[in-house]
């Protein structure tokens, strides 16, 4: 079997919240375990409050995990990530206007990261590489694009530039946190296609999103989060066609889709946001909203059951029906 590029083992991240008297521990993510294989696109899907961005930030080294282990390219990551690790696992952010230095020309910023991460290149090599990077993400013609300032680029072009910058350090895994949610619809698909094309660069991608349909479009595998825990994981098409966890089914049913007849979602119950999990007790966190909830679900935390060798769900009801 291929060695995973990234292995997350039992990772939790908790935060202290509240004042002296109302102090509590917010469980932003709990017992997260998953792999990303070389060249694979994995989608982390969840609503706001599901813990998906916390996972991305822990992976990017913005803060350390409370417990658990992250193994990247065979090495366990320490408390702070080194520049080399950040280069191998860069992050593309949601906001293409806030995440790019506005006073540097496109080519200048790229060549600066090339100087850090590609000591093998001389100045002519860096220039050629900068041109090739912007062309790889569909910014054409490259020679002209690298002479522009970020304000001369549209939101979609800037987000493509975000990926070009991520590629500059020859990464093995790119973390992309909601990279298209601020872009116009007509531009979004172009960027999703750029993300899919990363596969041909041999780069893995962890695509973090709340949008199931775009996750389906780009990802090989999907991981569904609810209130800080993984509830289901499997190959994208398996999850879409045969979701096993009641939460995944609810997500599918509530995703608005212009191709479906009007009002088809009128009878689906409002989901609301996932709860903030402070000082949680045992039990499935989805139980209060779950149409299939049993007594068991409120008393114990469900373990994963294998639905198929490639699909697993943390649900007692799914366990009983397999």
């Amino acid at each position: 079997m291929t060695e995973p590029i990234l292995r997350v083992e039992g990772m939790s991240r908790h935060f202290q919240v509240g004042g002296l008297r109302s102090a509590g521990v917010l469980h932003a993510s709990d017992d997260i375990t998953f792999d990303v294989l070389p060249g694979e696109i994995v989608a982390l899907v969840g609503e706001s409050g599901s813990g998906k961005s916390t996972i991305a930030r822990v992976l990017a080294g913005l803060y350390p995990p409370t417990s658990g282990r992250i193994v990247f390219e065979g090495r366990t990551l320490g408390k702070t990530s080194s520049r080399a690790v950040r280069g191998k696992m860069p992050m593309v952010f949601q906001d293409p206007f806030g995440s790019i230095n506005p006073v540097l020309r496109v080519g200048h910023a790229l060549q600066r990261s090339l100087r850090l991460h590609r000591p093998d290149l001389d100045s002519r090599g860096r220039l050629a590489e900068a041109v090739s990077l912007v062309e790889k993400v569909g910014l054409l013609p490259g020679e002209e694009v690298i002479r522009r300032f970020p304000h001369e680029l549209s939101g979609g072009q800037r987000q493509r530039l975000g990926f070009a910058q991520a590629l500059a350090s020859r990464p093995s895994l790119i973390l992309a946190d909601e990279p298209v949610s601020m872009l116009d619809v007509s531009i979004r698909i172009g960027l999703l296609n750029v993300m899919r094309d990363l596969r041909s660069e041999g780069v893995s991608l962890l695509y973090i999103t709340h949008d199931l349909a775009s996750a389906r479009y780009v990802a090989d595998r999907m991981i569904v989060l609810y209130a800080g825990r993984i509830v289901e994981e499997g190959r994208t098409e398996d999850l879409i066609t045969r979701p096993a966890h009641p939460y995944t089914r609810l997500l599918m049913a509530t995703a608005p889709d212009p191709r479906l007849p009007l009002a088809s979602d009128a009878d689906v119950e409002d989901l609301g946001e996932p709860p903030r999990v402070i000082n949680p007790g045992p039990g499935c966190r989805f139980a209060p909203r779950c149409p299939l909830a049993m007594d068991r679900c409120r008393e114990a935390t469900p373990e994963f059951v294998q639905i198929t060798p490639l699909q697993r769900a943390a649900c007692f009801a799914a366990e009983e029906s397999t």
Partner: protein, 132 residues
């Protein structure tokens, strides 16, 4: 969204919903106006515009959504970017990105023409008469 919908039913106000997320309005609004570069390109009943879009821009938008239903297929979206609004082009504002663009489109800005309550701003849908 459901909250707004319930309040609207109860209190009877109208809602002007401004968004770039068409999948949301598809299940929410009665009428839909598709805007591009500051102009209405198409306006009509929401379902009509979704099911029988007439303007090439609307057609392109419909083809820009990944979907959860049906087979997974390649989407292209609409290549290019909106025009500069400081010095807009003379003809149709969408001409530079339009897959069905003609010479006419580059020369004359089309009018918004209402046929059966579904209006479109496009020479292909509403050919100009020669005596114009």
């Amino acid at each position: 969204m459901r909250q707004v919908e319930n309040l609207r039913r109860r209190l009877g106000f109208a809602v002007l919903f401004v968004t770039h997320d068409m999948s949301v309005v598809s299940h929410f609004s009665d009428r839909l106006a598709v805007m591009y570069a500051g102009e209405f390109m198409e306006i009509g009943g929401t379902r009509t515009v979704f099911d029988q879009p007439r303007h090439p821009y609307s057609l392109g938008l419909m083809d820009a959504f990944p979907s959860l239903v049906g087979a997974r297929r390649e989407l292209v979206g609409i290549p290019g970017n909106p025009p500069s609004l400081v010095s807009p082009p003379t003809g149709c504002l969408f001409a530079a990105r339009c897959p069905s663009v003609t010479e006419e489109c580059r020369l004359h800005r089309p009018e918004l023409v209402d046929l059966d309550g579904h209006a479109t701003r496009c020479h292909l849908v509403n050919p100009r008469r020669s005596d114009d």
